[in-house]
């Protein structure tokens, strides 16, 4: 499916010697041809060791059950930044920035609990009307019978507005958030702007400066209901601004987690419907299915390709001996297509019985803080789309990001028939 012209992924996945399969190659995700490699790994070697891969030596954990095991044993499988953090890329030590996602309990717990009230049920209810208003306005402004880029005009616009609200960030400057988010996760080998960790830090230093200003403003006022105010007043985080590396680490986490993932679900969900016309018909016949369609979209898209851990003790996964210090990579894109845990995993089914049984948000102590906010944004988007546009057409194959971490769609040309 969608195989690029230069390789036949299905054949290559079968003919490559097992120990030479390298699922860390970002081209597999850019070309959307990774499935056959994971199908083979799940079948023949579900806990797979790759020595000398593009991103070093690492274990691939590919089944739902084994990923759940790693997720629920943080005492063995550490997220600690200094050990390598949560991505397969081993950054030079001076660029390993701590944040609560790249931290283990108990420090992780204390910092996470400072920001988690922002997505408590009552606050989600408060946010829903502003999200709906904005979504309606953005959709009403879209051109008819004309090709446009859904990523830029809808997905980025809506998620950046959301992120600006969460930070109470000046709306007029909100494009900076998108810029920092994209630079924070850019692979240094992608041929893009961030071609070294030093370059990345140079760009993100502007974010630190801007947010330091906002921090001091909010710290001087009574506690408010935005992320910066919560951090500035939180017992576990009130001195964060004095540690620029950890401050930047946490900013990056909140910026990327708070927009990029939902952005790609907004794009990927529409692409999935366009490629599965029978499901799109089902939705038109019964828009009530949005409730189960949204979690199915999040499974189908798998907005985060992997999360990484580092073993802090000798251990065993699926019969394989893991050594202390080993890099262990959980491939959510694979676990979400594991036939042993998900019924008909390679089918996009908008009325699945248990659609939330997927790995896209992670599980265990690091489970996505904003998971219900993400779902709410997507549900409102689809409710408002279905009120207006019975059909949106995909004009060409979406363009995808060179990354083994962010499952990104960079451009998606669509048309709304008049």
């Amino acid at each position: 499916m969608n195989a690029p012209v230069h390789i036949d992924a299905a054949t290559d996945a079968q003919s490559t010697p097992l120990d030479q399969i390298d699922v860390s190659n970002p081209r597999l995700y850019q070309d959307d041809c990774y499935f056959p490699y994971f199908e083979r790994l799940r079948r023949e070697d579900p806990v797979h060791y790759r020595k000398g891969g593009m991103y070093g030596d690492f274990w691939s954990v590919t089944t739902f059950k084994d990923i759940m095991h790693v997720e629920t044993h943080p005492e063995i499988y550490s997220s600690e930044a200094k050990l390598g953090g949560i991505t397969i890329t081993d950054r030079p030590m001076e660029f390993r920035r701590s944040s609560f996602i790249s931290m283990d309990p108990p420090r992780h717990d204390d910092q996470r609990k400072v920001v988690s009230p922002i997505v408590a049920p009552a606050n989600l209810n408060n946010m829903s009307s502003i999200i709906r208003e904005r979504t309606a306005r953005v959709l009403d402004g879209l051109p008819r019978n004309e090709t446009f880029d859904w990523v830029q005009d809808v997905s980025i616009e809506l998620t950046t507005l959301m992120l600006a609200t969460l930070f109470d960030f000046p709306l007029a400057d909100r494009n900076k958030l998108t810029w920092w988010s994209d630079r924070a996760t850019e692979d240094v080998n992608s041929g893009g702007i961030v071609n070294s960790e030093a370059k990345r830090l140079e760009i993100l230093t502007e974010a630190v400066q801007v947010f330091t200003g906002l921090w001091h403003e909010r710290a001087a006022k009574p506690p408010g209901y935005d992320l910066i105010s919560m951090l500035a007043h939180g017992e576990a985080t009130k001195n964060l601004v004095n540690d620029p590396a950890e401050f930047l680490g946490n900013l990056t986490l909140l910026i990327v987690g708070g927009n990029d993932t939902t952005r790609n679900s907004m794009s990927g969900g529409l692409a999935a419907l366009c490629k599965h016309p029978a499901e799109y018909d089902k939705l038109r016949a019964n828009p009530g299915l949005i409730q189960s369609m949204v979690p199915e979209i999040i499974r189908w898209v798998s907005p985060i390709i992997h999360m990484r851990r580092t073993a802090t003790a000798d251990a065993e996964i699926g019969g394989k001996q893991i050594r202390k210090g080993d890099k262990v990579v959980m491939w959510y894109v694979s676990g979400n297509r594991d036939e042993a845990s998900i019924d008909r995993p390679n089918e996009f089914i908008i009325d699945r019985a248990r659609p939330r049984h997927h790995l896209s948000f992670g599980f265990g102590v690091h489970r996505c803080v904003g998971n219900r906010l993400a779902e709410m944004q997507l549900m409102i988007l689809w409710e408002e789309i279905m009120k207006r546009f019975p059909r949106i057409e995909l004009m060409e194959e979406p363009k995808r990001l060179y990354s083994n971490f962010i499952h990104g769609i960079t451009e998606m040309k669509v048309r709304i028939p008049a």
Binding site: M68, P105, D109, P121, R356, F361, G364, V365, R367
Partner: protein
């Protein structure tokens, strides 16, 4: 078979028979009772099967052990109370016949 009453946050009660050996979470899911999501499927890894257990039933089911995975996951859930439990960690026994659990405003 033990009879368990699940009360939604809006006050709607659902009384069902749940076989011994199932968990309180499974009792809700298998009877399509809304308000318990159970995203992880019973692995104690998501806290979306959060319930409040009223006395005298709390004395029978107990509280999660300090430092346990359940206590850890509950500590990240929204709107917890001293009587909060994860229903996937409560095994149904004959002693729980007649138990009532109440659901929080939302599952996170």
């Amino acid at each position: 078979m033990p009879r368990i009453t699940y009360i939604e946050h809006n006050g709607t009660p659902h009384t069902v028979d749940v076989p011994v050996g199932k968990t309180v979470m499974q009792g809700a899911i298998e009877n399509n009772i809304p308000g318990i999501d159970a995203d992880c499927g019973g692995e104690c890894a998501c806290a979306t099967c959060h319930v409040y257990v009223d006395e005298p039933w709390l004395a029978k089911v107990g509280l999660p052990a300090p430092g346990s995975q359940e206590a850890s996951m509950l500590s990240f859930a929204a709107v917890t109370q001293p009587d909060s439990r994860l229903s996937c960690q409560i095994n149904v026994t004959d002693a729980l016949d007649g138990m009532t659990v109440r659901m929080p405003e939302g599952q996170h």
